[in-house]
């Protein structure tokens, strides 16, 4: 075969990489082998750029049962159970076909969970789009939300939480990150490790078509629309539901040695990875793979990314039992090969060898450590002086006042009610949802038959990350953890999705490496291990990268799920702000909306203080003192107050003069400035002194803001807005 630059471009390998393959293989690869290398050595499968950096992440802890390296991570949660979690991106497919791209993203992440032997109990979605004023972005948004809902609803797994952010930086490259959480008995957890030479390799589920060939490669190059030539994948959640039940039943039967879903790079990666983990070889015959279409070549079969397929390894004597289970669920089973002891991935086509490559060579892609350099333009934006901006007017006749500002912020698509999205997601199925979307800072699901509850949420503020990737990533971790703490849960594990531009550019590599460092530092300080994750690089078009987006998916644990609180003010009570008084306009939603600026230094973050704030809030909730808790994020204090009032259908009268003072006399900073480590808590009047004692014992800054009552939100003499107006503004932003 004459290897031309075009051929290498097709499989996205560099000439150096090609030479390395020839050298290690001791010969030139044939076309099938080259395609397999292309897929396995793509960033998506091979983590060429991210792997060296990812070593920095803290992945261990007393609860960790499975860290990164398997299909999903797992942590112990008591009662002999583990929570299994993983997040994954489907950005490129969703840019091409939003509905199916997002749907198949859900399908893939759910398979990652049940492959581990865990029953999926919750789905989350973290979404990023360009502004909704552009019709293309609206099309993407509606398509993506539709696809997520369709797939998850059909499967019968509740979609309970997520986050959405709109920013011009995502117009050409929307982000669709889907997360799934499952529960398993600790002793029933399975690994995707092939073992036992002679064992059979089964392919179960959908027939194979020409779907998504080069998908892994395609997820690792820019301009998805141009680079994608394969057939767009269409999901079949009905088939996945059967696969889910059948796989769990098969695993439960004890007759399965290993299981691996077919994701990016299809059969190539699933066989290679299972073999590599088990230190064995695998031989398969592509002629035995059931096809949806006639005339497929071995190359196409090996690289197809047809959905809803699963690789299952069984001992020959157990074949019948396992086959019977899958047949009962009306699924096709094909024996396509066997485990070998020679460490080779051997592919036959009706007995004729078409590829033979050492497994290790495929799974150990070369890695790159590059030099990063901050983009001077971004540094300049960060260093911009915001003190010269005009403040809001004290009274409306002198200019824009606080009241208009608040209503406009509530209408902002980044702040407004997410109900138009989550009402299209089934979030009550499985009858575990204790706190539904919109009810708390994190969703809470119970685990039947125990007192346990899991709190789940995704988070990442891309503006913070754009202006300072190191600090922004710390915030992402801190905010995610704060959100689960605000419902009363202890953060116990994180799964992360690194969405960045092209890492070959120093400016992007800088963002990537700084963000990972920031995540690591924050996770260490808050003592939360990262047990799984995913990298999606090359999210850029025409040399313009997306804002760095290290999405954090988090799981928190409630030992007694009855002791959770929501964010809704519960009737009359007293409201405190726990955390720093000082806030900043830097990188804030207010600055973007009112001054059209993404600039300034993001809020500072004291991780040690953050830890104490979260501990105190959790203790207050566990002791039953706290009636409601809500984290202050985009839009600052005033928006957080408004959100808790809206949810509780009660107004309140609050004083913030002390805050104005702490913020250099600026009303905008006091009301809408953003800061880390801040939580609003509401307590009953008779619990006030207990709360204060608790906050003191944690040496925390706090402020008594006022009391809830009536049907209007009143903040000093700065603003007075009826609940009705608050609701009208807040519910109009996304509908």
């Amino acid at each position: 075969m004459q290897v031309t630059p075009e051929i290498l471009a097709e499989v996205a390998l560099t000439e150096d990489e090609y030479r390395l393959i020839v050298e290690r293989l001791g010969r030139e690869p044939n076309a099938v082998e080259l395609g397999m290398f292309g897929a396995m050595w793509s960033e998506h499968c091979g983590y060429k750029n991210s792997r060296p950096l990812l070593k920095r992440l803290p992945t261990s802890g007393p609860r960790v049962v499975q860290g990164p390296g398997e299909n999903a991570g797992a942590v112990e949660i008591g009662d002999g159970l583990v929570a299994v979690l993983k997040i994954e991106s489907h950005n490129h497919p969703s840019a091409v076909e939003p509905f199916q791209g997002a749907a198949t993203g859900v399908g893939g992440i759910v398979r990652d969970i049940f492959t581990m032997g865990a029953r999926p109990v919750a789905i989350l979605d973290s979404l990023r789009f360009g502004p909704l004023e552009e019709s293309r972005n609206r099309y993407l948004f509606h398509g993506v939300v539709g696809g997520i809902g369709w797939y998850g609803n059909c499967l019968g797994i509740p979609t309970v939480a997520g986050d959405i952010f709109f920013d011009p930086g995502y117009s050409a490259n929307p982000l669709v990150n889907a997360m799934c959480v499952g529960v398993a008995r600790r002793d029933a957890l399975v690994r995707a490790r092939a073992s036992g030479p002679g064992n059979l390799v089964l392919l179960v589920g959908a027939d194979t078509g020409r779907d998504g060939i080069h998908g892994a490669t395609f997820a690792s190059v820019e301009d998805p629309e141009k680079s994608h030539r394969g057939v767009v994948q269409v999901g079949n959640p009905f088939l996945e539901k059967l696969l889910l039940e059948a796989c769990l039943e098969a695993l439960e039967s004890g007759c399965v040695v290993a299981m691996q879903d077919l994701g990016a790079a299809g059969l190539t990666s699933s066989t290679a990875e299972t073999a590599a983990r088990g230190g064995v070889g695998v031989e398969i015959d592509v002629a035995k793979v059931p096809r949806r279409e006639a005339g497929m070549t071995p190359y196409e079969v090996m690289l197809s990314e047809s959905q809803e397929r699963m690789l299952v390894i069984v001992e020959p004597s157990k074949l019948e039992v396992v086959e019977a289970i899958f047949r009962r669920w009306e699924l096709h089973v094909a024996v396509i090969g066997r485990v070998t002891d020679d460490g080779m991935l051997r592919v036959l086509d009706d007995g004729r060898p078409v590829a033979e490559v050492p497994v290790q060579l495929l799974t150990e892609a070369p890695t790159y450590v590059r030099d990063g350099r901050e983009d001077p333009e971004l540094a300049a934006l960060r260093n911009r002086d915001l003190a010269t901006l005009p403040d809001l007017a004290r009274s409306p006749d002198e200019g824009i006042g606080a009241r208009e500002a608040l209503l406009a912020l509530l209408r902002s698509p980044n702040v407004a009610s997410r109900r138009p999205v989550y009402r299209t997601y089934d979030h009550t199925i499985l009858t575990n949802t204790v706190l539904a979307p919109g009810e708390g800072d994190a969703a809470v699901i119970r685990i039947k038959g125990t007192r346990l509850g899991l709190a789940v949420k995704t988070d990442c503020n891309p503006r913070y990350c754009l202006l300072d990737p190191y600090l922004g990533a710390q915030h992402a971790v801190a905010e995610a953890a704060r959100n689960v703490s605000c419902v009363g849960a202890e953060p116990v594990a994180i799964t992360d999705c690194l969405n960045f531009g092209n890492p070959e550019r120093p400016e992007v590599y800088y963002q990537l490496s700084r963000a990972i460092e920031g995540m690591a530092v924050a996770c260490e300080a808050l003592e939360i291990p990262i047990v799984s994750g995913n990298a999606s690089l090359y999210n850029e078009t025409g040399g313009r990268a997306i804002p760095p987006t290290p999405t954090i998916g988090i799981v928190g644990l409630l030992n007694d799920v009855r002791k959770r609180v929501g964010l809704a003010f519960a009737g009359q009570g007293v409201v405190y702000l726990v955390g720093p008084a000082e806030a900043t306009l830097g990188a804030s939603e207010y600055l973007a909306r009112f001054h059209g600026l993404t600039a300034g230094v993001p809020p500072s973050l004291d991780l040690e203080l953050e830890q104490r704030v979260q501990r105190a809030v959790r203790e207050g909730i566990a002791r039953g003192i706290v009636l409601a808790a809500h984290d202050c994020s985009e839009g600052g204090l005033a928006v957080a107050l408004a959100e808790s009032c809206i949810a509780g259908e009660i107004g309140g009268r609050f004083e913030i003069e002390a805050l104005v003072e702490a913020n250099g006399g600026r009303i905008d900073r006091a009301l809408f400035g953003e800061a880390g480590s801040r939580v609003l808590v509401q307590v009953a009047p008779e619990s006030e002194s207990t709360l204060v004692a608790l906050l003191r014992s944690y040496r925390l800054p706090y402020l008594r803001l006022g009391e809830t009552a009536g049907d209007a939100l009143i903040i000093g003499d700065l603003l007075r807005v009826s609940l009705r107006e608050l609701v009208a503004a807040w519910t109009s932003g996304l509908s």
């Binding site: 091409v96 076909e97 199916q100 959908a206 078509g209 020409r210 779907d211 057939v231 767009v232 994948q233 269409v234 999901g235 079949n236 009905f238 088939l239 949806r292 279409e293 047809s306 959905q307």
Partner: protein
């Protein structure tokens, strides 16, 4: 506007060949279950009727083609065809 006439476009949208069609598979299996073993394949698409005004058939067809490209079909996974028929005023 100069004198226009009433038209109805019957638009047929189907998945491109090769694209996975779970709906079609399910319907095929459903038909098999009912005993229609002679059925080898089923594909499920959309049938969209559009009533519109246009001065002549050529214009009507050109407009409908545009609507298909922009809204009625998703060119990434679907293909379409249509025919335009003259209708009496007021259909």
């Amino acid at each position: 506007m100069s004198s226009t006439q009433g038209w109805r476009a019957d638009v047929y949208v189907a998945l491109k060949p090769g694209v996975n069609d779970p709906q079609g598979l399910a319907v095929r299996d459903g038909l098999h279950r009912l005993g229609y073993d002679e059925v080898s394949q089923v594909r499920v698409g959309r049938y969209i009727q559009v009533w519109l005004e246009a001065p002549d058939e050529t214009t009507a067809a050109a407009r409908v083609r545009e609507m298909c490209e922009r809204l009625l079909a998703n060119p990434v996974i679907e293909e379409y065809r249509f025919q335009v028929v003259r209708i009496d005023a007021g259909h």
